[in-house]
Symmetry: C2
Subunit: 399 residues, 2 copies
């Protein structure tokens, strides 16, 4: 099955979580908005000066005759009176434009400053250097939509809108299970034939950086009863179980049976992707299970292709299936591809013309974590892609 078909089916079976929590602005950064946010106030709340200078009546400038300075307006300190004919008020950026005035004469265009009188050296149109009330937004304007992942600019805008708290989606709780008798924790003594468990750490970091809460449930040995109990325990209190390994069709893979025994309905897809291949997806009510390959590189690539969109969907982000790929030029020739879409670990650079160039590493062995960690991007080779020369346009996903 093509990976995009499997992804579409997976996403169709998932629904956004309904939980939300109110967070102070800065802590809300990086979280996903649970509801539309409308302005509680108008910005600017008054006509404000955009420059340091003098608030004047534009009509009074035409004669370039002296104006009488009757007061001062600073940011936070309005001038209380009204500007009459041939009068001016000293004004600073951000201060309210006083009643009667309709333009700002910038200080560079005023002579004789300091004697209570200024002489304009230039005329201005009415409205010049005045920011009208509501130029940015008005009370009731909806400026941030539910599903937005909040960044620093959104936080600043929400503050200006008058919000001190924002309602953000609860983070999906993701239980991570690593399966395999060969796994040992980093730092522990390895028995013969064992390797260090690494996928759970990478997957937990991946989940946390993409808005979820990771709950590492440790290593599950290759045993039917233990696996069944581990799935039963993990399914309580989490939104998504992610398993690493134990999902292929080998003789010693117990995850699928354990899911069925726990009442999950299972979709099992041999996806036409390299590295990757077996992918499992299970549903029991609102609890989901994504079964990833045990090979570390395959696990990470399938996390990008499937776990990330699934988290986006659970968080209520728009278009969870958005194509994140972008264009580049191939840095070296590649042979024709077979029927499996390939995700090649590649470095990124620029050619002399400034074009992005993606050069796949010469080794694409999916057991080599070192190359995954040093890759800048995944280069996508579509199924059945013909042989391609260096310089051919290609698609990449930045890492």
């Amino acid at each position: 099955m093509a990976p995009d078909v499997a992804r579409t089916r997976m996403l169709a079976a998932a629904t956004p979580l309904q939980g939300a929590e109110a967070m102070p602005l800065v802590q809300a950064s990086g979280r996903t908005l649970a509801e539309d946010v409308t302005a509680l106030r108008t910005q600017p709340p008054f006509a404000a000066s955009a420059m340091d200078g003098y608030a004047v009546r534009a009509a009074d400038l035409t004669s370039l005759m002296p104006l009488h300075v009757i007061g001062e307006a600073k940011a936070g300190h309005p001038f209380g009176g009204t500007v009459g004919p041939m009068e001016a008020v000293r004004i600073f950026t951000g201060a309210p434009v006083p009643d009667g005035a309709d333009a700002i004469l910038i200080q560079e265009n005023a002579q004789g400053v300091g004697a209570g009188v200024i002489t304009p050296t230039q005329t201005e149109q009415a409205g010049r250097f005045v920011r009208p009330a509501g130029l940015d937004f008005c009370t009731g304007d909806c400026l941030l939509k539910a599903g937005t992942v909040l960044d620093a600019w959104h936080i600043g805008l929400a503050a200006s809108m008058g919000h001190g708290l924002l309602s953000v989606r609860s983070r999906p709780r993701v239980a991570i299970l690593s399966t395999g008798d060969e796994l040992a924790m980093p730092g522990s003594a390895l028995r013969e034939g064992q390797i260090v468990s690494s996928n759970a750490f990478a997957l937990a970091a991946f989940v946390e950086s993409r808005g979820g809460v990771a709950d590492d449930r440790g290593i599950v040995p290759d045993d039917a009863d233990t696996t069944r109990r581990a799935i039963a325990n993990a399914a309580e209190g989490c939104d998504l179980i992610v398993t690493s390994g134990g999902a292929s069709v080998g003789d010693h893979d117990f995850v699928q049976a354990a899911l069925v025994a726990n009442g999950f309905s299972i979709s099992f897809w041999k996806i036409a992707v390299r590295p990757g291949k077996p992918l499992m997806f299970g549903v029991r009510g609102s609890t989901l299970c994504l079964g990833l390959p045990g090979n570390p590189v395959s696990s990470m690539i399938c996390a990008i292709l499937f776990l990330e969109p699934l988290l986006r969907k659970l968080l209520g982000q728009p278009n969870p299936d958005t194509d994140r790929s972008e264009g580049a030029l191939l840095g070296r020739a590649l042979p024709a591809n077979d029927l499996r879409e390939e995700y090649m670990r590649a470095s990124l650079g620029r050619d002399d013309a400034g074009n992005l160039v993606a050069t796949p590493f010469s080794s694409q062995d999916s057991s080599i974590q070192r190359l995954m960690a040093s890759a800048d991007a995944l280069l996508i080779r579509p199924a059945h892609a013909p042989a391609a020369e260096a310089g051919t346009p290609c698609r990449i996903i930045r890492l």
Copy 2:
């Protein structure tokens, strides 16, 4: 002064923080490595099978005669004996290849399975489907360099290398001061002429998302004594003070004097950038101060241009001044630019050929936060750039 000249001077005055802390793997994600990390073990630690099948002596396959199956090797459960002539061991992916065997016959190429005897249907070269010990890395290999910002793949690799903790740089402590009598906290009642303080929230979110710890010191009124005391307090226990507003040459700007009174040596640059203009940088021993404009959009753009590289330098990340811009095509015609480099808020799209197209918003008023929050990118217009038609190559910084 050109912004890149100011940035180079600022970075020359900053030195990486020396503090580090040991963090568990998942919590180390997103942090900056304080030292090089070398492998504590060899991966894979033994020659391992890359497939499900039979461990054999490649030379025995040439006759395609039956082989006697003498045992089994599973991941984590090695076969203890030695494979002799015309013998085979049932083996699964990830299991150690037994002594005597030098190739894997994949199960699809074995007939008569189950009767203790298999018949190969194909020959293989020695080494086929065997991952030799150390294929990924060997004990002592340095695979992660100091200064690396750790992502999920780095975390997975560090686990495989045998590390349970990683030494990461302490996060720079950043005190944030907002200056201005016109500012009020979101949610508070506004006096006439006041506006809501928003920069501190945006800057705090910015600092936290880029590896710092933000300490919001609140609003400082336009008063010389209060500003001096606020700077004195902020300078204790922080690595960097960021001020918002109060740094221009207006009559009511007290920050520069307060810094001087507190023993900071000051560089004040009128940078040729729009929006932006005044930028202040101060140094007192190891404590730095970056003075940003008070205008919210200018503040955010200067944060991207100056605060982000400064945090990278303090965190010891390589090449803090790296150009983050990338190429795109202009989405609409633009007039010639003046002497100030301009950062225009723009939306991103694709043309029919798949090229990235950046279309600047028609309003570039730097007081409009709404447009900053909805922009996908900043389009860079170099100083003195000539008028440009739609479709002209340009540079952008993604937001």
